[in-house]
Structures are given as structure tokens and as C-alpha cells.
Amino acid sequence: MATQPFVQLAAGPFTEQESARIRADFPILARTVRDGRPLVYLDSGATSHKPRQVLDAERHFYEHTNAAVHRGAHQLSEEGTDAYESARARIATFIGAAAEQIVFTRNATEALNLIAYAFSNATAGGGGGDGVGERFTIGPGDEVLVTEMEHHSDLVPWQELCRRTGATLRWIPVTADGRLDLTHLDELLTTRTRVCAFTHVSNVLGTVNPVRELADRAHAVGALVVLDACQSVPHLPIDVRELGVDLLAFSGHKMLGPLGIGVLWGRREILDAMPVFLTGGSMIETVTMGGSTYAPVPQKFEAGVPVAAQAVGLAAACDYLGTLGMPRVHAHESALARRLVDGLAARAWVRVLGPEHPADRGSVVSFVVDGVHAHDVGQVLDDAGVAVRVGHHCAWPLHRALGVAATTRASFAAYNTAAEVDALLAALDRVPAIFGLEVAV
């Protein structure tokens, strides 16, 4: 890909020429699967592929700079530290944040657990908070509010927090068309609510939740607001200053970056107030046998040798997405989602889940073929080289609420094309015959 930015004037889908240039950056897209079929990868919601620019950045780090950062006085250590901290700054810029607000974790799951443990650690008297840590004490009579559409990563940590502390977990239900049902929000969100945690974009339905409205209402009752941004940061232009939330988590590997790195973003005073989670090297200020004090944020949350190569790779991914332009990435993926939803809607034997209006959806489309299990649908698609996700997508309660055991999910990234949507639809058309469904064609 050339270094000049893609044209930003019209935030429309990528042209065929642009798509070809983008795809050429992703070596894996050239491979074949299942006896020589071209790979049609529509599972980027699970994990995305990585462009050469990201792979090169990681390789360059290991080949030229590799050192344990924030320790040692030798040149490699200096350069490694520079690379790591410059990566933090670029990632921060990508979401409109300041560098010290970016905490590197292993993944978004760990970032969300870090927050949940901040509460129980504060409650148990753990250190590292700045004295206004009462904000994080929680116990019987307190409540944690989540939603029924959460990924297990933004649900189970809160269930466990409630189990450890005696707090009560409550949740906002979903409507039949896969939106948050805010009808009784006033009863769910009260002065007892200490945390309100929800997803920006549903990883199953693509539903885009009203973040600002929920955040404002949660703040009005004094709750801390946690946003799972795993399905939004990779796909939408995000400026954390406009979201109105206190803490936000996302993963590197879903946004063209490496595995093994996630990000916790937080408002500075919130991060300062939070007790430490994982402890050990790197995150300390002073250590004696009698006890320890801790480094300022973000280091106090980064125990152990930092994941420098992954940070460098993730920064390269942010640079790459920035060059494409997030408005265009969003427009491109939305157009693909729309094409798929329209194609599925034309097949009476397929049921698309989630909001009907395209403006309310992200680039995730889940559907069911009544009478055929999602696993079987996925197998037929796989036989044609089309890779999708099947099952409950780590959102089992949502599937129960919608009355389906499992769904087939297609999810998009910048490198996908309209031809790939058509390939999915063509492969899907084999399903009725294979499973003896009687359908009007």
C-alpha cells in the first residue's frame, strides 16, 4: 500500500482498485482452503488478519530493537522503551486519548477483569489506589448493571465480582429485534448501581448501543461506566472524549493487530483511584520486605516485562487503519453488511437477527436457517471456503433471550469485498438441498 492517505473526501466504500491494494497487504488472503478454494474470510469479529505493515513492524522490533523495556541502561533497552512508549502514544491518538491513559493488557478480557478486580481489591483493602479508592469499594446492597447482550468477557467477571463481594448483578434485557430494552431503565439504574458495564456494538447482532445516553444516565446516579469497545474501535471512528464513559476496553487482534495485547483506556482520575491488579516487576515504585508502593499510571497496571513487540504491532495497525481512514472503513463494512442483510432477506428460509435499520448496525450479521443447526450451516459454507463463526459467539445468554440455540455469524473487515458476500450467499444456497429443507426458491 502506498503511504499517501486514502481519499477522505467522500466517506464511501473502497473502490475495486482500493480494495485490491488493501487485500494485497494481507498475505493470508492469498491462500486457499479445502482443496484449493480461495479463502473467503468473514470471521474478523472473532479475529482479524494482519497486514504486512503490522507483521513487518513486529519483525523489525525483534530484529533490531529487542530488549526488555523500562529496564537496563543499554542502547537496545533505550530504543525498545522508545518504541514501546511511542506505540502507546500512537494508539492513544487513534482513539483521541492521552498516552498515560492507555494501559496495555493481554487482551480485552484481561482489561475487563482488571476493572472488576479493582473493585474487589479495593473492597479487600488492596493497595495502589490514590486514596479516593472508596469509589471502588463494593458490597451487599450495591449493584452491578450489565446487559443481556454482553459477551461472556463483560459478564462473567461481573458475576464473579458480585459473588466475591455480595453485590447484586442486574441486567438490561434485550428486545426481540436485538436492542437494549430501556423501558425500565430507571428501576435498573439507581443509586445502588456502582458500575454500569455494557458493549458498544453487539458482537452477535451488530446492534450499536446508545453509549452517550446510557453513560449520562449512569453518571446521574453516580455509577462508574465501563464500555466494551471490542467491536467498535476496530470498525468505527472512535473518540473516547465524545463517548462519555469512564473506562473502555478493546483487543488488538480484532483490529488488524497482533494477538496477545489489549488496551484498557480510562479517565486519568479513575485510573489513579483504582487499586492495582497484577503485581510484580515493572509496576512498582519502591519495594521493601515490609511492603511496596506503586508506579503512576499506566505502569502500575503493567506488571512483568512489557509486551513491546505487540504494542509496536498494534500501533502499526492503528497507523494502517488511520491511513485507510476510519470513516471509510466504517462505510465499506456497512455497505458489505447491508449487501448481506439484503441478500439474506431475499431468502425466506433465512432469518436475520438484530435491528432491521442499517444505521443501527455494525458490521456483524448473524442469522439462522430454521431447521438446520448453525454448525451444519457453517460446515457447508466452510466446504466452499467461506469462513464464518457458528455457535453462541460467547454470548450464550443473548442467544437464550432470542430463543435460538446457535447462530451463524458473518463479520467484516476493511479487506472484505462484495464478491465475498456473494460467495457466502451462493454457498448458503446449497443448504436447503443438503438438509432436505423444503423451500420456495
Binding site: H373, A374, H375, D376, V380, G391, H392, A405, A406, I434
Partner: protein, 153 residues
Amino acid sequence: MDLYQQLILDHAKAQHGSGLREPFDAEVHHVNPTCGDEVTLRVRIADGAVADISYAAHGCSISTASTSMLFEEVVSQTVEEALSTYAAMRAMLTSRGQDPGDEDVVGDGVALAGVAKYPARVKCALLGWTAFTDALVRAGVDISRTYNPAARS
């Protein structure tokens, strides 16, 4: 597609022996956490033989067909025979395609031989069978004498 042999689709549709029946000696509930497939399975042992397997299975065609085949092949076998049928099914399914299966031992189960080429689906095909061996243990059958999964895997 080779995987979906007619025999599999027939079993998935008919689900031989499905429904939860009395009497039973043990009931188990097994799930495949990656996809949410589940089976509730009851076993009845009488005179050292499998007198009945009754079940409610929700899942993909591979998992429901396999449980249906379990009922067909194993009910009325002695416990010892049932365990060697299980061992043969398991060996075929985990062979990565090297073991085509012996129709004399696993019956209709040979139709599932193609599953072995799809590691992600092996768990689907084994769901009912694993539940069955678990139910045997809970019914008080000592399966280690006849069959030791740890020694084989």
C-alpha cells in the same frame, strides 16, 4: 458434501429412541460449550446389559445423529460390549481419517467416519457417547476394568 451422508441426516431427523423414559439408573446432562449443543441422557442397566438409553438432544445434525446411532447400536448390548462399541467409535472419530470404522462394531456409526477429518466436529459426534459413559459411571458401573480412556488417549 461427503460429510453429510444420507444416513446421518436420517438419524438426525428421526432421532431413534429419543425422549426421556423411566425407569433409569442415572441421568446426565452434557454440553458442548463452544457451540451450546446439549444432551440430557438416561441409562438403564439390567442384568449386566444396557436395557435402555433415553435422551433429549439439541444440537447439530452430527451430534443428534450420533446420539441416535448410540441408541441403535448400544441398547441391549452387555455393558462390556457397549464399552467396546464406544471405544471403536471414539477410535474412528479421533483417527483424523485413518480409521474408516468397522460396520460390524459401530453399525450406522461408520457414516460418521468423515467427521474425523474435521477436528472441530469430533466433539459434536462424541457428545452423546461421552454422556453415555458418564451415565454408566454414575449408575455404578466400573468402566475402568473394560475401558480406560486415559490409557488410550
